[in-house]
């Protein structure tokens, strides 16, 4: 197995708030190999978006990386200078954002925005960059690119805008693309188109993807491996098929049971009771224990480690076997 | 029903005022503004006590003297004590500025209330008037009006009112447009309260804060206007001391006695600074939480 393209070890990110320090990401570790796709799943507030942005140093003003390392292509970016990080952005690593209406410069034509990275970062001439932009627009499926390149973002539909975002992300020939809920703000039908496009591009161009979403179905469609996040920590990770078919963490189980999208043969649809914890003062012991149906006394104190379960799977639960039993009794996904 | 609405408004106002009383001393800009302005106002009020000469008494044997024990800031070209003229000038300019802000405030607020509450053609005409007045460069219109009406303080008030009501009307109208859709107004209306009562007892206390905040920064503009008019010879008439007039008179002696023009200007700047700080502080304090 080749060297990982992205190595995250024990990442910690804190927010300075008026009422104290909030640890949004607390000891997250994962690897992404070239050409691989990893999904990062969790509710809002789980820390998935913060973790993603921390990878390239695009955190808001009030946030700081307070621990851990991030290595991209062998370079330690967490302790590197801003200049070094900037070098990698756009060319080695690029990002796709959730809301293309706000993520695109409203007063700049889309063609120009797509051509910007080739022009400024890859040293292409104006004409070359323009050609490249048109090429990319064709690649992402924008019809009539020559005319569309002259348009402003507000003149395009939501799906078109997201395609433009994808084109921008591809324009620097990246090896890794970070996707921050790119389909959440879109119509369901468009969502599907964009997801298929991403899958196709990933295969054809052999780029690695880290795909953040709260939507399990979307992650199932785009990623081969998944990490489930809760309250700033990874609570389960493994191959998508394994994790979703046989979750080993109560939270993952709860998520699976509350999602109606899968072709599940289930009588009941249950939501997870309770609410995510306040990360300025998380609960002692397992962070999920206040909402957990399998909770026992040893869950209430101490750090719960991520337990290896073999075959690339891991779960942060002392009673993962209980969870497995529960799944066997009442499968989350129908066979076949 | 209407009684309930009135009770709600009362409660809101009390809450507002209590919040203000609790925080004013912790807002640095407010405190600084009050301090600076307070000192100047005190000096103006205590003018006879802190000056040794009258502001208009000439001493043609001792013109253009530099600062000395007898004349703290020296004398001007007619032998008048500069310090005294400065302090009495504060009296004149401050008084005129405060009054000059009061009339536009009152008239503008009234017009804004009516235009915002009734809407329709009243509003349209008001808007048109506002746009017409705004189309005139501020100073041009004031100067033209002072020309037409003649100089002197009374006409300064009239001129500034004619030009200045516009901003207040706009602010109040904007606030009323938002406020009149609030529950307490609808409750009052359905409770059968008269329009006048609704406007004055219910809307006014809630929309007037923005206008008050603006008034503070407007005083700065008015002081500048009065001083400018004084400079041009169209303002407060001599021999009443006025900072603008002092600057104008001093300009002839720029090469030899530059302090004659500079010192009154500094007085204006400091006064304006105090007022601006006060305005900022008030804005912070009166901002709804």
């Amino acid at each position: 197995m080749s060297e990982p393209l992205l190595r995250v070890r024990d990442l910690r990110v804190e927010f300075q708030l008026a009422r104290g320090t909030l640890r949004a990401v607390d000891g997250v570790s994962f690897d992404v190999h070239p050409g691989e796709s990893l999904g990062l799943v969790g509710e809002s507030g789980s820390g998935k978006t913060v973790a993603l942005r921390a990878l390239v140093g695009l955190l808001p003003r009030t946030a700081r990386i307070t621990g851990g390392t991030v290595e991209i292509d062998g370079v330690d970016v967490s302790s590197a200078s801003e200049a070094r990080r900037r070098e990698l952005r756009g060319t080695t690593v690029s990002m796709i954002f959730q809301e293309p209406m706000t993520a695109l410069n409203p007063v700049m034509r889309v063609g120009e925005q797509i051509a910007e990275t080739p022009l400024v970062r890859l040293g292409q001439s104006r004409r070359e960059a323009k050609q490249r932009a048109l090429e990319l627009m064709r690649l992402v499926g924008i019809p009539d690119p020559t005319r569309r390149a002259e348009a402003y973002p507000h003149e395009l539909s939501g799906g078109m805008r997201q395609r433009v975002m994808i084109a921008i992300a591809l324009s620097g020939n990246p090896r890794l693309i970070l996707c921050d809920e790119p389909t959440t703000a879109l119509d369901v039908t468009i969502q599907d188109q964009i997801l298929k496009l991403l899958q196709q591009l990933q295969r054809e161009l052999d780029v690695a993807l880290v795909f953040v979403s709260h939507d399990l179905a979307v992650v199932a469609q785009t990623s081969r491996r998944v990490a489930v996040m809760y309250a700033g920590q990874i609570v389960e990770q493994g191959a998508v098929a394994d994790v979703f078919r046989e979750p080993r963490h109560p939270y993952t189980l709860g998520l699976m049971r509350s999602v109606p999208d899968f072709d599940a043969v289930r009588e009941t649809l249950t939501a997870i009771p309770g609410a995510p914890p306040d990360l300025a003062s998380p609960p002692r012991g397992c962070r999920f224990h206040p909402r957990c149906q399998f909770v026992q006394t040893d869950c209430l104190e101490g750090e719960i480690p991520l337990i290896e379960l073999g075959g690339d799977c891991a779960a942060r639960c002392l009673h993962h076997d209980q969870v497995a039993l529960d799944v066997r009794r009442e499968p989350v996904i129908a066979d076949g | 029903m209407a009684v309930a609405a009135e009770a709600v408004v009362e409660a809101q106002l009390i809450e507002h005022r209590r919040g203000f009383a609790k925080r004013w001393y912790r807002t640095p800009s407010f405190v600084a503004g009050v301090t600076i302005l307070g000192l100047i106002v005190l000096a103006a009020i205590a003018a006879p006590l802190i000056t040794t000469h009258g502001p208009t008494s000439q001493d043609l044997l001792n013109t253009l003297q530099g600062p000395s024990g007898k004349h703290w800031l020296g004398t001007d070209d007619l032998g008048r004590d500069v310090w005294s003229r400065l302090v009495y000038g504060a009296r004149t300019d401050l008084k005129v500025a405060f009054l000059a802000v009061l009339f536009p405030f009152t008239i503008g607020t009234l017009i804004g209330l009516v235009a915002g509450y009734y809407g329709g053609w009243v509003d349209t005409i008001t808007n048109w008037l506002v746009n017409v007045v705004v189309a005139f460069p501020f100073y041009v219109l004031i100067i033209a009006l002072v020309f037409a009406l003649g100089s002197g303080t009374r006409n300064i008030y009239i001129a500034i009112t004619i030009v200045g009501w516009v901003s207040y009307a706009r602010i109040i109208r904007g606030e009323v447009l938002v406020a009149k859709r609030r529950d307490y107004v609808l409750a009052a209306k359905s409770g059968g309260l008269s329009d006048a009562r609704i406007i004055f007892r219910h809307l006014l206390p809630n929309v007037v804060t923005q206008a008050i905040v603006f008034a503070c920064s407007d005083i700065v503009l008015d002081i500048l206007a009065i001083v400018t008019l004084g400079y041009l010879g169209l303002g407060v008439q001599p021999p009443n001391p006025d900072w603008g007039r002092m600057i104008a008179d001093g300009q002839t002696f720029l090469t030899t006695h530059w302090e004659l023009s500079t010192v009154p200007g500094i007085a204006v700047v400091v006064t304006a600074l105090g007022l601006s700080l006060l305005a900022d502080g008030l804005a912070d304090l009166l901002r709804p939480e």
């Binding site: 990698l88 756009g90 620097g172 | 460069p137 041009v140 041009l232 700047v269």
Partner: protein, 314 residues
């Protein structure tokens, strides 16, 4: 809707306002208590002169007829003759207009050159020392009477520091103009810059938090390009409107500054005419000033639409 359509629409909206302006200007005479002619003429009044003015202004006719005739003359460019100089007011105004236009244009340019870098420094150093320093500028600066600033500048640069600039007058030739007009334009600039700085800084702070700036940074673009091509480019959109609104103030400021520097512009013409009781000229200048302001509002709207493509699609 394209840019041309937008401009046309705005022009049409300005018609009732312009009409209102002419009415106000026209009624300036009627504001004067007593017999306007006698008051205007002051101690130059003789029965013959009074009667002449009455006739010249048509004061012996019903008011709407008077207004009609007034408008009729205005449309033909006839703004009455100067009582003092005897020539057409329009001619006097045209003669001196270039000076005032120079002052306004140069002043606006300088104010932008001052405000933009300062606002950028403040916004990119939020809550640190440079920011606090820049924020103090509008606070203190707005209290400076423009004419006093002019005098101080005259004192320092005109009379002392190497007598770098002339103390008055318009100068000859383009370079001469630049030289003579520099201090006056700087005075004008110091007047508007504080407001611009405040507005642009606020705008920039907002823009710098937006998603598209993050996108630009995600492209790994140098921070200077992010600031100029993405942040500033969007922040100036709302500042243009603020600048336009303050032109009303700016134009008035030139009037006083022309006095300070003895510049032969229409502002000085107005002041002199006021003291000379030369009413037709005062009326003419007031009208011209107002038309200028209205045009400036139009211009700022047009520039706004140019800068922000979303506006045109209304």
């Amino acid at each position: 809707m394209n840019l041309g359509g937008y401009v046309l629409r705005r022009l049409l909206q300005l018609v009732p306002i312009t009409l209102g302006v002419t009415i106000l200007v026209f009624f300036l005479i009627h504001l004067v208590p007593g017999d306007p002619a006698a008051t205007i003429l002051g101690n130059q009044a003789t029965p013959a002169r009074i009667a002449l003015l009455h006739h010249q202004w048509g004061l012996d006719r019903p008011i709407w007829v008077q207004y009609g005739k007034f408008m009729g003359r205005v449309v033909h460019g006839n703004l009455g003759d100067s009582l003092f100089y005897g020539v057409s007011s329009g001619h006097l105004v045209l003669q001196r207009l270039p000076v005032t236009l120079w002052l306004i244009g140069f002043g606006t340019l300088l104010s932008v050159l001052i405000a933009v870098p300062l606002a950028a420094i403040a916004a990119t150093n939020r809550d640190r020392i440079p920011d606090h320093v820049v924020r103090a500028v509008p606070l203190v600066g707005l209290g400076f009477p423009p004419f006093w600033v002019g005098i101080v500048l005259l004192l320092v640069f005109g009379l002392h520091v190497g007598r770098a600039f002339p103390v008055g007058g318009y100068g000859n030739g383009f370079v001469g103009h630049l030289h003579s007009m520099f201090l006056p334009a700087l005075t004008v600039a110091f007047g508007i810059a504080p407001i611009l700085i405040r507005s642009l800084r606020a705008s920039l702070l907002e823009v710098l938090e937006s998603e598209y700036v993050t996108t630009a940074r995600a492209k790994g673009l140098p921070e200077s390009r992010v600031l100029v091509r993405h942040a500033l480019r969007n922040a100036v959109v709302s500042t243009v409107t603020v600048l336009g609104v303050n032109i009303g103030y700016l134009v008035g400021g030139t009037l006083v500054i022309e006095q300070v520097y003895a510049l032969p512009g229409i502002g000085q013409l107005m002041i002199n005419s006021i003291f000379q009781r030369d009413f037709p000229v005062v009326q003419a200048v007031t009208l011209v000033f107002s038309i200028m302001v209205v045009l400036v509002y139009l211009l700022s709207d047009v520039v706004h639409a140019l800068l922000d493509p979303r506006v045109r699609f209304d």
